[in-house]
Subunit: 339 residues, 2 copies
């Protein structure tokens, strides 16, 4: 019964959805980028150098786009949204700098990481600076409600990152624990980015909660697919190497599923490679083969589709204008970038 859609078609659709959102927020995004450049300045030259390396390295700016698009969808006419979108990107950038230190990453977005170029110390401290600077920007905006949402998101992100540390190298991690980590470390900032769109537009609580739910579920989709991509050849197109999570012993959902669906011998393989970090050259290949055998990557994408459907339904209370269509499309973009 189902219509067969090729991966290429899915991917083309995904790219179109991203382009659609980008087109809608082009002018606002110029202001966001200006704010980012202006506010990362400091009398200490290393700060704009290091922050600029990360910020100019061509991330999609998905989170600030969400703040821009949700506020516009809510009929917001002012320009606070651009400054707040910059805050969101600053918080995200600060967490990336600290993540790369924690993960000992050497590549991001096809470039050497800041910690690789300037060392861990500078990355930790410039991360702290960006984080503080984002709060200064929020304080200048003056909304205690926005401050409450973003300061809470920041705490939750940090909790998620610590929780992830404690689940690393542990094959007893359940899908639920994994979900708890990604809801905190990734989905919380997506949720906050969208929720503040409704807040500054002074929309009632129903709209605010709807956007929070949209953002949260979209964030889950984003992270699930990120974890799939780590085992996919597509990853290399994003400037990252394949198998980073595997080499670090990070227990992501594809690994949780493959382990649980595997036999005793396979589980021994996962315990050796992930828990003991005792890995040989061909272990990554074996890991991917076992994932294929148990449809672990495929089913992680299926899980992502489930959360994506919730995200789309959360938008249903809004008029079906261009912004809603773009925000709906971005769910498909996040799912389909797996291919």
């Amino acid at each position: 019964m189902g219509v067969v859609i090729s991966f290429e078609e899915e991917q083309a659709k995904a790219e179109t959805a991203l382009a659609h959102l980008q087109a809608l927020v082009t002018d606002d995004m110029v202001k966001v980028n200006q704010t980012i450049i202006l506010k990362m300045q400091s009398s200490v030259p290393l700060i704009p150098q290091l922050a600029g390396h990360l910020i100019a390295s061509g991330g999609k700016r998905l989170r600030p786009m969400l703040t821009l698009a949700t506020s516009r969808m809510c009929g917001y006419k002012g320009d606070r949204h651009a400054e707040l979108a910059a805050c969101v990107e600053f918080i995200h950038s600060a967490t990336l700098l600290h993540d790369d230190v924690v993960d000992e990453s050497d590549m991001r977005r096809g470039l050497e990481t800041a910690n690789e170029l300037w060392g861990n110390k500078a990355s930790v401290l410039v991360g702290d600076f960006l984080f503080s600077r984002s709060f200064e920007l929020m304080v200048a905006d003056g909304s205690l409600e926005v401050l409450a949402i973003l300061s809470n998101a920041s705490s939750v992100i940090a909790e998620g990152e610590v929780l992830q540390l404690t689940t690393a190298n542990n094959m007893d991690t359940t899908e639920d624990s994994y979900m708890q980590v990604i809801v905190a470390k990734t989905a919380a900032l997506f949720a906050a980015s969208c929720e503040i769109g409704a807040v500054i537009a002074e929309k009632p609580d129903a709209e605010q909660q709807a956007l929070k739910s949209y953002g949260k579920n979209l964030g889950i989709v984003f992270q699930l697919i990120d974890d799939v991509l780590d085992f996919s050849a597509e990853q290399e197109k994003l400037g990252k190497s394949v198998g980073d999570d595997f080499r670090e012993g990070k227990v992501t959902l594809p690994i949780v599923l493959a382990f649980r669906r595997g036999d005793e011998e396979e589980r021994k393989f996962w315990r050796r490679t992930i828990e003991d970090l005792d890995q040989n050259d061909d272990d990554l290949e074996t890991a991917i083969r076992l994932m294929d055998k148990h449809k672990a990557l495929h089913d992680t994408v299926e899980r992502a589709r489930h959360y994506g459907a919730i995200a789309k339904d959360a938008l249903a209370i809004f008029p079906n204008d261009d912004y809603r269509k773009a925000l709906t499309g971005i769910v498909d973009f996040c799912v389909n970038r797996a291919y």
Copy 2:
């Protein structure tokens, strides 16, 4: 003409000044400690474990005491000061966790550091948590003015820490550059801790500026003496080892002075040990001998006295009550802990 006062007398006076301040804020401090314990809780057990290790390790809680005492001196009758004092301690604790990672320290306050016990990753992330949590507490307090002061202080601290990285291992560092670092990394939080006392008491700008100046200059005293203590046998009583700064090649004022006052051969010694970090077992002893020869430690204490005098004069516009006396005494405490 001058009365000769022994080191022991100075030290006894210093301890009395600290005890005087502690006695005045005892009840309020109980509330601060309760807030700290309550707000460092998390569903992720590693967070209160790691944060609790640092926070319970017996710091003097000087910064929160300053918030308590300055607000009381300004006639504040409410209890917001206790929550805000906890915020200040959280920001301070977050910077300590990150500092110990950056400095690769293994001991603090006579205990192993958190990074030594739980690793750098956990220290970075729990630092982020405490920092975010402090902002949540400030948002709950609801004063945008307090938020502006503390978020700005946080940015300035991070800038100071980055600046310090770039001056490390550089013997061309001037006294001015050194001062720029310590004003940012240490004095900014002391200044903010005191300034918010006047803000919540709704005192006019003159009192607010006076307390900011008191705090800033007291913070400078504190850091100058900290840098002296690193070369003093007294240091070991504080649970730290002597010569940590020297071994890391941190260019503090005693080293700046000894280098500048030294002859060519001595300067070669400093370049080898501090810039090249090429150090032998007896180099620390030589460093201390050269500092003695050029009165570098003595004159750093003299510089501290100068800033201490400014701090005391900044308090002159306040009635000379017990709080002012205690805050004046704490300047002497900070100077005299050098002995």
